[in-house]
């Protein structure tokens, strides 16, 4: 089953009233980046570090907007202290889109816990350790988990993560 297109993910963002995408760009989600640039309806704000993107995402929420943080697994690891402080300790809603950079494609295993690569294998355990609920997107059929992540984040005023397991198809 194919991964969803960037446009399909973008439409889910619009359905969930996202105004800004704050990002250190992600290899896995390049198809989404392309869709965001082509569409231009959601403001795309690039940052130098994931700490900044996460912190600014909550600043946007406090100011009345709704941001999604678009990063890869390495970025989540790099930004953990900001997520701890302004997401968890502060109890703020924030949805993160995280790409599983390094996931084996040629010898694909459905369970990322069985990946040979630590950068892939530890993502869900790290999210569990910091008490961030997470959902996987492994095919277009999984797109509905984006709604679930937004519902949980804004119901509980808490971060939530959507994990993209394989590359989103490129537009061009």
């Amino acid at each position: 089953m194919a991964m969803p297109t960037g446009e399909a993910v973008l439409n889910k963002m619009k359905e969930n009233n996202v105004t800004h995408a704050v990002t250190v760009p992600d290899w896995i989600q390049i198809g989404l980046h392309q869709a965001l640039v082509a569409d231009g309806k959601i403001e795309l704000v690039p940052f130098c570090t994931e700490d900044e993107a996460i912190t600014a995402g909550v600043g946007l929420h406090i100011g009345g907007k709704r941001a999604v943080v678009v990063v890869q697994n390495q970025g989540l690891y790099a930004g953990l202290n900001a997520l701890r402080a302004i997401g968890l300790d502060s109890g703020m809603p924030l949805v993160l889109f995280i790409g599983q950079f390094g996931r084996e494609i040629a010898e694909f295993t459905p369970d990322p816990a069985k990946s040979q690569r630590r950068v892939v294998r530890i993502l869900e355990p790290v999210l569990d350790a910091v008490e961030v609920p997470h959902w996987r997107i492994e095919s277009a059929e999984d797109l509905g988990v984006i709604d679930a992540a937004f519902d949980r984040a804004y119901r509980d005023s808490w971060p939530a993560a959507v994990i993209f397991g394989q590359n989103l198809p490129l537009q061009h």
Binding site: E52, A56, G59, K65, A82
Partner: protein, 204 residues
């Protein structure tokens, strides 16, 4: 020349931050948290703590969300150094309503232990901001220049970067008989509580 202290610089800012729909949002971190909340308590103050280095990005997020309201970030030199790239992020986003103030006191833990930050006395933060792409940068080493410039600075389109070269206070540093105190619970919850209060104020 009299010492230029952080608290005096913030007292001057408090005189000019405006009121009502024109009241500036203030994002403070480290030493400046105490002084802004003494000089100008407001639901539009938020303390970036414990998240050293986060004030600039928090201010950028608020500035993008509230483009019609001035946002002032009260940052420290040690804090900025932890997220120096945020100068490039801010310059790239280009919010006209953001003024990023950095207190160059040369120390971490001002008036607690005063440990030197890297490059103390050598680093020109205004020059770094200018090179990062800030269209307006200033550097003041006395309260008079800062106070006189404030009205124009707050009325000028940004993003603006201001370096204030201040003297660290040192009359109350920790010692063997007066060690560091336990941290109150509020230190770990205030950013969220102040953020919710600010959001409610802004959206009401």
């Amino acid at each position: 020349m009299a010492d230029f202290l952080c608290k005096d610089a913030i007292a001057a800012l408090a005189e000019h931050r405006g009121s009502g729909a024109d009241e500036a949002i203030v994002v403070a971190t480290m030493t400046s948290i105490l002084w802004i909340n003494q000089a100008s308590p407001s639901p539009l103050n938020i303390s970036c703590v414990p998240l050293m280095g986060g004030a600039s990005a928090l201010g950028l997020g608020l500035a993008l969300a509230q483009p019609d309201r001035k946002v002032v970030v009260l940052d420290g030199d040690g804090s900025l150094l932890m997220q120096l790239g945020s100068l490039v992020s801010i310059a790239g986003a280009g919010p006209k309503n953001l003024m990023h103030v950095v207190f160059n006191n040369g120390v971490w833990f001002e008036n607690m232990v005063n440990l030197p930050v890297p490059g103390t006395g050598q680093t020109d933060y205004a020059a770094i901001a200018s090179a990062a792409g800030f269209p307006v940068t200033h550097r003041f080493d006395g309260v008079r220049g800062w106070t006189e410039a404030l009205p124009d600075l707050l009325a000028t389109d940004g993003p603006i970067f201001v370096e204030l070269v201040v003297t660290p206070e040192s009359h109350n540093v920790w010692n063997h008989n007066a060690p560091q105190p336990d941290l109150p619970e509020a230190q770990f919850t205030r950013m969220g509580n102040e953020g919710r209060r600010m959001r409610e104020t802004l959206l009401s």
